[in-house]
C-alpha cells in the first residue's frame, strides 16, 4: 500500500494531478446544481405571488 501511495517516487506529481482534476470536476458538477436550486427558489417565490394576485386581492 505504501508502495502504491509512493508512486515510485512521483507521489507528489501523480496525486496532485489526480487531486486537481477531481477538484475541477467536482466544481463543474456542483456549480450547476447550486445555480439550479437558486433559480428554482426564485421561480417558486415569483409564481407564488402570481397565484395570490389571481385570488383574494380586493
Amino acid at each position: 500500500m505504501t508502495e502504491f501511495l509512493n508512486m515510485g517516487g512521483y507521489a507528489f506529481y501523480v496525486w496532485s494531478a489526480f487531486g486537481f482534476s477531481a477538484l475541477v470536476m467536482a466544481i463543474l458538477f456542483i456549480q450547476p446544481i447550486v445555480q439550479h436550486r437558486q433559480a428554482w427558489r426564485e421561480a417558486e417565490a415569483l409564481h407564488d405571488d402570481d397565484a395570490d394576485n389571481l385570488g383574494e386581492r380586493p
Binding site: V14, A17, S21, F29, P32, A39
Partner: protein, 273 residues
C-alpha cells in the same frame, strides 16, 4: 395535408429538443443514468490505471498522470468541436437551445483545458525538468482556454440574450481554427511534447494494459461532459425563463404532486422531471 403529417419523426424530435418545455424534463430523466454510467466507466478506469497497469519503462509511475491528462485534453477539444457544430445550428436555424448548449458547454471546456494544462505541468516538471515551456502544443492549448473564457465573457457582456447568443456563436466558429493547430502542433513544429501514440493509424504504440484504462477514462470523461452539460443547460434555462409559462407550469406541477410521509415530493418532479 397538414404539416404535422409530413414531418419526419427525426425532425419532430429535433424540434422537441429545441423546446424547453420538452427538453427540461427529458434532460432531467437522463441525469441519473449518465451519472451511473460515468461511475461505471470511471471506477474500473481508475483501478486499472493507477493500480493494475505496469509502470512505464522510461517514465516510471509518473506516466499515470496520462490517465487524467490525455482524456482531459481530448475532451477540451471535443467540447469545442461540439460547440462549433452547435454554433452552425444556432446561426443557420436561429435555434435558442443551440445557444444555451454553447453557453453551458464553455465552462466545462474551460475546466478540462485547465485540467490538461495543470496536469501537463505536473507531468512536465519531473520528465522535462520544467513546469512550462512555450511549446506549440502547450501554447495552443492555453489559447483554447482563453477562447473558452472569451466566449463566456462575451455572452455576459451583451445585455440582450439573443444578440449575445449570436455573437457567442460567431466567436465560437472563428475560434475553431485553433483545433487543427492543437492537433497537428506536434507534427508541424519541432516540439518537446511527445507525438500521438493512440490515434496513429497503423498500430498504437502503447501496451494494451496501459491502453484499456486510458480508453475507459476517456469514455468516462465524455459521459461526464454529457452529464454536467445537461445539468448546466437545465440551470441556465430555468434561470433565463423565470417568467416563462413552462417554468410556471413546472412550479405548479411540483406543488400539486403527491407527497409521501416525509413531506417531500414523492416523484421528485421538480428535480428530475
Amino acid at each position: 395535408m397538414t404539416e404535422k403529417r409530413t414531418m419526419s419523426p427525426l425532425l419532430k424530435w429535433f424540434y422537441r429538443l429545441g423546446a424547453p418545455v420538452w427538453f427540461y424534463p427529458f434532460a432531467g430523466r437522463l441525469l441519473p443514468w449518465l451519472g451511473a454510467l460515468f461511475l461505471l466507466l470511471l471506477l474500473p478506469g481508475l483501478y486499472l490505471g493507477l493500480w493494475h497497469a505496469p509502470a512505464d519503462y522510461q517514465q516510471g509511475d509518473s506516466f499515470r498522470i496520462m490517465y487524467v491528462h490525455v482524456p482531459a485534453a481530448w475532451l477540451s477539444m471535443f467540447v469545442y468541436f461540439a460547440m462549433a457544430v452547435s454554433a452552425v445550428v444556432a446561426l443557420v436555424w436561429r435555434l435558442r437551445m443551440a445557444e444555451i448548449m454553447i453557453l453551458s458547454s464553455a465552462p466545462i471546456g474551460a475546466g478540462f483545458a485547465l485540467i490538461a494544462l495543470v496536469t501537463g505541468a505536473l507531468w512536465g516538471k519531473p520528465m522535462w525538468g520544467a513546469w512550462w515551456v512555450w511549446d506549440a502544443r502547450l501554447t495552443s492549448e492555453l489559447i483554447l482556454l482563453f477562447i473558452y473564457l472569451g466566449i463566456i465573457a462575451l455572452y455576459n457582456a451583451i445585455e440582450d440574450r439573443r444578440s449575445a447568443g449570436r455573437a457567442m456563436s460567431l466567436l465560437t466558429l472563428v475560434g475553431v481554427v485553433n483545433l487543427p493547430i492543437i492537433h497537428y502542433s506536434v507534427v508541424w513544429w519541432n516540439t518537446l511534447h511527445q507525438g500521438a501514440t493512440v490515434s496513429k493509424f497503423d498500430t498504437p504504440s502503447i501496451h494494451i494494459d496501459m491502453l484499456i484504462p486510458l480508453l475507459l477514462m476517456a469514455a468516462a470523461f465524455k459521459v461526464f461532459y454529457g452529464w454536467t452539460l445537461l445539468l448546466k443547460m437545465r440551470a441556465n434555462l430555468l434561470e433565463q425563463d423565470l417568467h416563462n409559462g413552462w417554468v410556471k407550469e413546472r412550479i405548479y406541477a411540483s406543488k400539486t404532486a403527491p407527497k409521501n410521509s416525509t413531506g417531500r415530493v414523492a416523484d421528485k418532479g421538480h428535480q428530475y422531471d
